[in-house]
């Protein structure tokens, strides 16, 4: 009963209930509409043409004297049949083709994708009208054409989903165990695409109704059919005499399309809801504890006292990611923050620069730089302007993943020069000269080439050097490096660490080095803070902690590093610093 999950969730929200109820009523009307009225929807009556609402004709009569209320009820059938036809055609073409294209790839995929792009780039209405010369005027054969034209929606969805799972282990396992490709596709892969297909289906049903009613409105359908589009056509011809005739079918069409769309949205929300908790912006139940200013704050370059960071949960609670942590960095000192992923070390680093995501809440504590407060619950969110006094100039940041941290649309040179012009107020020529000398400093020989290159034209190691050059370009007092070597090749890792050490010696900056690797800590740091699950478990002098870790967690981290075959870095620490 897995698949009842999202549907049940849809029914838990009031809008979802309303939408499902409306669609259910439409379905009932489509099946038994005529039994809710004693009028014949097609019986003209020349003596009661274009009448207003009365006890006899609740919604009045149309230009042939037919009962509007009855036609409205019965018209739901044509609408649902049209929607079902389009969806069925699109499903039957889009899903199997998408599945084969995604599963086998190659020429089949190329041809199918080309055809799909071709169909998507065509104006549906014009093709539909041209096709009418071929297929005749039946609204249902037109709906078949619409189904073909919207099939790319299902095709792309299925193809993408199949491509994503075809190399998954369970699909491999099924293949090895001798299941035929068709069986694998229908059993394992269909399960994956089911939910997105339900969402897409509701959208396409809406599109289908829109096309059906517009064709009939144009008078291109079968005018003897009782449908909302035909009613619109009649109403439009009598717009000067009885505009109300337009109102009922227009309302019915809009409500039905809206219900399909809203059902799709509600279903998607339900699916996403089960995957992640929705973050709310502000929540009154969050308790923020006050922290008195620590007396020794101003002595340190940076001091973090009792800092807590949390994210609001959908149920009104708060998910704490950092818990009352305290540490400090002095001028010219290198502090390592070590922990596994999820320990809160990166959140801590971001909070110092005011780079936390919008939804983050500072629950307690403060961050101060040279005694100036950067962050505290009392101040709430730091103003963007106040923070700019610090960013780049006093505190700088080196990211983890070099390639994604350079804007692909701008040359390296521009990305180095612009901050210096903005933050240091240098002239452009001075900034360019300084950028070249910085690139030299970080060990780049051909500075002219790199300066004029776009990020995609340089290697990852080169990009990390550029980012380090950018970080030190405005002479910061504190450098925050978030796993600066993790994304790099092993040989380049050592070079980048050497570079950081050189720069630290040269500029006398304080450095916070966030890492999961004790080897890096041993190599570079003076002191270390060990974090686990958002709390500090141990902190102190690097040599003390390496020699005699008190906490079991630290010992675990240390021994995992030894198992992880990096004795060389340990040896360097053995030599002492």
């Amino acid at each position: 009963m897995k698949n009842t999950g999202p549907l049940r969730k849809v029914l838990r929200n009031p809008l979802g209930v309303a939408v499902v109820a409306y669609l259910f009523i439409i379905l009932i009307l489509a099946l038994f509409g005529s039994s809710f009225s004693h009028w014949n929807p097609n019986k003209p009556d020349v003596f009661s043409v274009l009448q207003g609402p009365s006890a006899k004709h609740w919604f009045g009569t149309d230009s042939a004297g037919r009962d509007v209320y009855t036609r409205l009820l019965v018209g739901s059938r044509a609408t649902l049949i049209a929607a079902a036809l389009v969806v069925a055609t699109a499903l039957l073409i889009g899903v199997p083709v998408g599945m084969f294209a995604g599963y086998y790839g190659g020429a089949l995929d190329a041809a199918a994708s080309w055809a799909s792009n071709m169909l998507m780039s065509l104006p549906v209405m014009i093709i539909l009208l041209s096709a009418r010369t071929v297929i005749g005027s039946s609204i249902y054969s037109s709906m078949f054409i619409v189904g073909v034209l919207v099939a790319p929606g299902f095709f792309r969805l299925t193809r993408t989903a199949v491509m994503a799972v075809r190399n998954e282990l369970y699909v491999d396992a099924a293949r090895v165990s001798g299941l035929s490709d068709i069986r694998i596709m229908s059993k394992h892969i269909l399960t994956v695409v089911r939910a997105p297909i339900i969402i897409q289906t509701s959208m396409i049903a809406g599109i289908a109704i829109s096309f059906q009613s517009s064709l009939e409105f144009l008078g291109l359908g079968d005018s003897s059919l009782v449908s909302w589009g035909v009613m619109l056509n009649d109403g439009f011809r009598n717009i000067f005499m009885k505009p109300i005739l337009l109102f009922w079918p227009a309302l019915a069409i809009s409500l039905t399309i809206a219900s399909f769309v809203l059902f799709g949205n509600a279903f998607r929300d339900a699916l996403e809801d089960s995957k992640k908790v929705k973050a709310k912006k502000s929540d009154p139940t969050i308790v923020i504890s006050e922290t008195p200013a620590a007396a020794d704050e101003s002595r340190h370059l940076l001091s973090v006292t009792h800092l807590g960071i949390g994210y609001p949960l959908a149920d009104g609670g708060l998910k704490k990611v950092v818990n009352e942590i305290s540490f400090s960095v002095d001028k010219g000192e290198v502090l390592g923050i070590v922990g596994e992923s999820g320990s809160g070390k990166t959140q801590t680093a971001f909070s110092i620069l005011g780079l936390l995501p919008e939804s983050a809440v500072i629950t307690s504590g403060r961050v101060s730089f040279n005694g100036e407060s950067l962050l505290s619950p009392e101040k709430g969110k730091i103003s963007e302007k106040a923070m700019r006094e610090f960013r780049g100039k006093k505190i700088a940041y080196i990211p983890q993943e070099p390639m994604s941290n350079l804007d692909p649309n701008f040359k390296i040179g521009y990305q180095l020069v612009r901050p210096m012009v903005k933050v240091l107020g240098l002239s452009k020529a001075d900034a360019v000269a300084k950028a070249h000398s910085l690139l030299k400093t970080v060990g780049i020989e051909n500075t002219e080439r790199i300066f004029n290159a776009y990020p995609h034209e340089i290697s990852g190691g080169m990009a990390q050097r550029v980012l380090i050059a950018g970080a030190v370009s405005c002479d910061p007092d504190l450098l925050i490096a978030d796993e600066p070597t993790t994304a790099l090749d092993v040989t380049i890792q050592a070079e980048v660490l050497d570079l950081l050490r050189d720069l630290q010696g040269k500029f006398g900056m304080g450095i916070i080095l966030v890492t999961h690797n004790f080897g890096v800590v041993a190599d570079l740091c003076d002191r270390v803070v060990v974090m686990q699950n958002g709390s500090v478990v141990e902190s102190g002098d690097v040599r003390t902690i390496l020699k005699a870790p008190r906490e079991p967690y630290t010992q675990e981290l240390l021994s995992s590093m030894l198992v992880d075959k990096t004795p060389m870095t340990l040896l360097t620490s053995g030599k002492g610093k």
Partner: protein, 313 residues
């Protein structure tokens, strides 16, 4: 860049060839008794034979196709069966009406959708919710119903705008503006809401990218980051959305032109298909596909120019 464009251009030509050939065979294969339909019920078998010969219908379909293709590549699409006018001159009479509608509408829709989408993405809050609600509403109320609502209230009831009719710009600019306002507004409302929503998601996904955080850490102001970096990175996605909307509008004008009785391509295609005027239908299909291909080429060109990876090669 040049090879990229050449490839796109070739693919466009191929698309045009494929669609027009498919349309030719389908339409001709399925229409029967063409000559007697044109001549009406009273025609003698002799007259029908003569007409068939005149239209070349007595030749095999491949011969007819090759002859059509030979003329078509030179820009000659024959004459309309309904009134013997040249197909090209008929289309040229109608095209300006449709193009002026669609171009004005897509321009306004682009400006509004971009403004709303970007604001919703960066400001969040009320404007964000408004854009999302509008997107559902815009999807739920089809464009032609919007047009009907506008006609009913602003033309039929309030008499602010003319309900129907077209005034050429050269004739009377003020009346031209009046006659085009409601059709344009209908097209804008129908496309703007979903574009705004899609542009919002494009901007939001750029805002979450790593380099935005790094630029912020360098001391670049948020304003500059949004104007220079975010909009630049979100532009290709936004342009693609708008080009799809443009194609959608070409279809949307069919109904809008019908509602407001405008003498454009949409009106022409409805009449041509209703009367089975095959040469005219073929001409309209070819012209429409050419417009779509040109728009896609322009978007490719701009996207290529915006994307250094394509540009530098």
């Amino acid at each position: 860049m040049a090879s990229f464009l050449a490839k796109r251009f070739l693919s466009g030509v191929l698309l045009l060839f494929a669609i027009s050939s498919m349309a030719f065979f389908l339409i001709y294969a399925s229409t029967t008794n063409i000559a007697s339909n044109i001549l009406g019920e009273g025609a003698t078998p002799d007259q029908i034979l003569k007409k068939s010969h005149e239209l070349g219908l007595d030749q095999p379909i491949t011969t007819r196709y090759l002859s059509w293709l030979k003329h078509a590549v030179r820009g000659d699409f024959g004459t309309s069966w309904a009134n013997n006018d040249s197909v090209v001159s008929e289309i040229m009479r109608r095209l300006p009406v449709t193009l002026s509608l669609v171009l004005i509408a897509i321009f306004i829709a682009a400006v509004l959708a971009t403004t709303l989408g970007v604001l919703a993405a960066i400001k969040g809050g009320a404007i964000d919710r408004t854009v999302q609600i509008l997107a559902v509403a815009g999807f739920a109320i089809p464009g032609f119903i919007v047009a009907i609502i506008l006609v009913t209230f602003l033309a039929v009831k309030a008499h602010i705008f003319p309900a129907t009719g077209w005034v050429a710009f050269g004739e009377n600019p003020a009346n031209w503006a009046k006659s085009i306002t409601l059709p344009v507004v209908s097209l804008v409302i129908a496309t703007m809401t979903s574009s705004a929503q899609q542009i919002r998601s494009a901007v939001k996904s750029v805002l979450e990218r790593d380099f935005i955080r790094t630029l912020t850490s360098r001391g670049i102001s948020r304003r500059e980051i949004i104007i220079k970096h975010v909009l630049r990175a979100a532009a290709p996605a936004g342009l693609t959305v708008l080009s799809l909307q443009f194609v959608g509008m070409l279809g949307g004008t069919v109904i809008v032109e019908k509602i407001f009785a405008l003498p454009g391509m949409g009106d022409l295609v409805v009449n041509a298909t209703a009367s089975g005027d095959t040469p005219l239908v073929m001409g309209i299909v070819v012209y429409t596909v050419i417009i779509v291909i040109v728009i896609n080429l322009v978007v490719d060109l701009i996207n290529g120019w915006l994307n250094p990876k394509v540009r530098v090669q």
